[in-house]
Subunit: 282 residues, 2 copies
């Protein structure tokens, strides 16, 4: 497995693979890999021959006061895990390689879909995501790219961007990977103190309760949201950022459950903001 730092070499690697007739898959990550990331690699390997994983903590998608500086990084460990996982090349550019000094002016925005949920809590976040993902797509020119359902809004925004801008690749969304006790895997879980780690189980528990309510015939979104909020509020270490029940394609809030519904939440445990979600089909 090759660790690539420069855009020029990354393009060359892909050109070589293409000349050898290979289909290329991209798994964009911010590194500090866990089993969730590796499941994205597995999904990619089902759909193409050669998987490139990008590892780039993108400053553009972090807001003021967010954890850009503190975001965990360990390229040595990541390289081992990626190689074991079947990655052919890691693309790990520096910030200066992606945003050269001398001014950066060009951005990709997806409107509407980025207004609510995490877009409301984190202004500018999705502009950072769509912009860097566009850059990565243009550098790697993959046939497919795999994103995780854990970041549900991100997956929908990226799919929309690809469709609207006719980007020449296919997006695959892979299911959420969870720890044995139910916590959705996230690089940010390392921030949690032992007591916060225990408290964080309330997220999957609350989503399960909402899922069961829906399975048992409850169609009032407010009832589901209240049930989730009640669970989370009972946990003293948890502070709700949002609990939203929205259409799974348009991300518009719903009153009555119908069709494909996304139940999404963001909750702080101390300074650590965790997100989780569940799709309900009615």
């Amino acid at each position: 497995m090759e660790v690539i730092r420069g855009i020029g070499r990354m393009r060359e690697f892909v050109r070589e693979q293409r000349l050898a007739g290979k289909q290329i898959g991209l798994v964009p990550t911010m590194g500090y890999l866990h089993a969730g990331h590796l499941s994205l690699v597995q999904e990619a390997l089902k759909a193409c021959d050669v998987v490139v994983m990008s590892i780039f903590v993108n400053p553009l998608q972090f807001g003021v006061g967010e954890d850009y500086e503190d975001y965990p990084r360990d390229l040595t460990r990541d390289s081992e895990l990626a190689e074991e996982g079947g990655v052919a090349a890691i693309f790990a550019p520096s910030v200066a390689e992606m945003y050269p000094p001398g001014g950066y002016y060009s951005y990709v925005d997806v409107e509407k879909l980025t207004e609510g949920l995490c877009g409301k809590s984190r202004p500018g976040h999705f502009r950072g995501v769509t912009t860097v993902v566009t850059k990565l797509f243009n550098i790697v020119q993959p046939d497919i790219a795999v994103f995780g359902q854990k970041d549900a809004q991100q997956a929908i925004v990226i799919q929309r961007m690809v469709r609207d801008l006719n980007m020449p690749l296919r997006i695959i969304v892979a299911p959420i990977m969870r720890e044995a006790d139910g916590l959705a895997m996230s690089s940010r879980n390392v921030y949690l103190s032992p007591s916060e780690r225990k408290a964080s189980l309330v997220l999957s528990r609350a989503l399960n309760i909402a899922g069961e309510l829906a399975a048992n015939g409850e169609r009032d979104a407010n009832v589901l949201r209240k049930a989730i909020e009640t669970q989370i509020q009972a946990e003293p270490l948890a502070r709700i950022d949002y609990v939203e029940i929205v259409g799974a394609e348009d991300l518009k809030p719903v009153e009555i459950l119908q069709g494909r519904i996304l139940i999404a939440l963001a909750v702080f445990f101390g300074k650590t903001r965790l997100i989780d979600n569940r799709i309900v089909e009615v």
Copy 2:
């Protein structure tokens, strides 16, 4: 020469050409071709094997009250001219093919460079241009694309977008083509009444005077601007939108001429807004 309406067929055409080892050039236009457009095709043919010309009057880059509805269209004539000019395929999608019904949310913006000049007079114009050009690049995936220096700000904005977003192609900017009497070629010239057509010569004349002043050692941008404005104001049918003297790369207004300078202007003749420009090297 093939006239292609659908994105799917366009992609297929390019795939076929690539398999045959051809390098692809794109000349994006809004049609109603003149010798200026055909000079872009010639530039493209110098740098690649197969030229695709897109013809699409992009509603997104027209503002309220602008000439989107009236913009001249003649695909039959354009097809003949393009074929004679060496174009291998015209891509002429419908508006619905480019912006399918059901909502369009994704945009590309280049900041700073789009604030002044035409960006100030035509809010949203460059967002429309960069967005549609991104779509065209993603559909055709050309090795090179050719734009005209006539739209000086557009050329600079596109070059910046390609660099910032790592788009995998090279931009070529081709010189302004002029009528024998000096008027810069433009599809909008057909709007001019005979008296306006005559009056429009003031643009190239004023730019020439400014060029001569600079060549003779004048370094005060205000003196050049005043000279241009005086010329144009002496023409009763002309109404100045802007006359700007800016750095040719950063488009920032300059006081003292130094380096590569862009003298750019936009002037109304009746309802018709014409633009012209001249580069001065000091």
